[in-house]
Symmetry: C2
Subunit: 281 residues, 2 copies
């Protein structure tokens, strides 16, 4: 892992043999920068390194990644008190063909983007979601990881944008509820909180992990299970999580509606005390 | 669809916001150029346009694609009597996020690469394959299409390269036989030819289509069906197809062995008469 590049507008830093372009051969992290610091940094690094291991890429050293992020933040014109950083690790350029050159010389790209705060009303009154018609293929060898193979999310997100809904919930090919196009989903029933298993597909979000760990630390274990549309319909409350926005209640999805209940409010209050200021309502 | 770029060594033509890089948001075709002409051109165009439709990309006009390919071939330093062209159609650059800018301004990239003929012995004596441990996720919304989301093939191909086998056969998460990492597979049993259904995952190769159509034209219908490892083991003959190499017999996969039988030889003879010179042994 020697090379790194800065992502930015009007830049053409990507080599035409870059395997991320040809095959999506790489991984990424989208990190909330808050008060100048990357939030949930360890979670992002953990997932990135797990992804590198799964894909057989050089595993970069965490302090090296951090140094490059800090350089990119230092040089950015954006407000780095509140912005978004993106780190992409790829298999780098190679000759044509699925096989990588051996040894693989991984490449890293870092971009800094303006932060776009979500309006307070979303946290207070919840957001609307839809059920996406696009299904996620199941039994993926990269389930849970944030690889650069994201066509399913692109297609699902297009459905969402077409309706004006804030988020689209996706199911897998076997009807299991998996996650949102850009978030993870939690359901509350009789004060018990559950979230879909991501063993077969989907992305295991860093904020999902933070929610599970924060709640676990407060004595509320989150159940990770195979969930279906029926479980969602039957829920008392529904909320979603995402690294940039924290946790937001969902007040409806398609024809189904939920209240913004006490459990969701408690989750948000706990997160607000544990590094996710946005959840303070 | 206005912009197009040339892929080549040491070029940095790819914008840092290119959605192919970030999400694999696009499609590609790898075309055998034989006698200066793109072989199976209509099949390649058909699949590319079907992919654009599925992904919701601008559908380029076939003559425009052809003109760009011809320009790239005309300017190439490689032997364009026998070489490989690659056409990539992407959603182009956009802001960060899965949602595309609307309307989406698709981009096209064309590259010309040296042709690498397969040795005659492979056609005469067959090639060795392995079963890949990497499984393909099933129930993909882009099953059959040649999208830029190819991490599964990259992982499966790595297994292959590690063993020195010519090809790796992949199964889906439900144990169905699907295809090779870079080819489609056909099995022969009692002179009947079958090939796996690609309704759930896998890439529907242009040479696969050409084989099915050529055989159909000669009165040999190919059965497209759900096939499993048992069907492969039980087969009398096995062969694979790929746009660059045509059809090649498989003499073994893991511990299983097959003869190079009369049906495979007849398929190769029919293809040799129908535009695939490589199959003339």
């Amino acid at each position: 892992m020697t090379d790194w590049y800065r992502l930015g507008e009007n830049q053409h830093v990507i080599a035409s043999g870059e395997r991320a372009f040809h095959y999506g051969d790489g991984l990424f992290e989208t990190i909330a920068i808050r008060g100048g610091e990357p939030r949930l940094w360890e979670h992002h690094v953990d997932r990135l390194l797990a992804g590198c291991k799964c894909l057989g890429l050089d595993i970069p050293r965490a302090p090296v990644i951090r140094r490059r992020l800090d350089v990119a933040l230092g040089e950015s014109d954006h407000n780095t008190e509140f912005c978004t950083a993106k780190i992409v690790v790829t298999a780098g350029p190679s000759q044509r063909g699925y096989g990588r050159a051996m040894p693989t010389q991984a490449a890293m790209y870092v971009g800094v983007y303006p932060g776009i705060p979500l309006n307070k009303q979303a946290y207070e009154k919840g957001v609307a979601a839809i059920f996406c018609a696009t299904r996620l293929a199941t039994g993926s060898p990269v389930a849970g990881l944030k690889t650069l193979n994201r066509i399913e999310q692109v297609l699902a997100r297009s459905e969402c944008l077409a309706t004006g809904a804030f988020e689209g919930l996706t199911r897998d090919a076997d009807d299991r509820l998996i996650c949102g196009t850009m978030s993870n989903v939690f359901i509350v029933k009789n004060n018990a909180i559950r979230t879909p298993s991501l063993e077969r597909c989907g992305v295991a979000g860093t904020m999902r992990r933070h929610v599970i760990e924060t709640l676990g630390g407060a004595g509320h274990d989150v159940g990770v299970a195979d969930l279906y549309e029926d479980d969602l319909v039957d829920a008392d409350e529904v909320f979603i999580s995402n690294s940039q926005i924290g946790v937001v209640p969902v007040h409806r999805c398609g024809g189904y509606k939920w209240v913004i209940g006490n459990t969701t409010k408690e989750v948000m209050a706990l997160l607000a005390k544990n590094g996710v200021d946005e959840c303070r309502v």
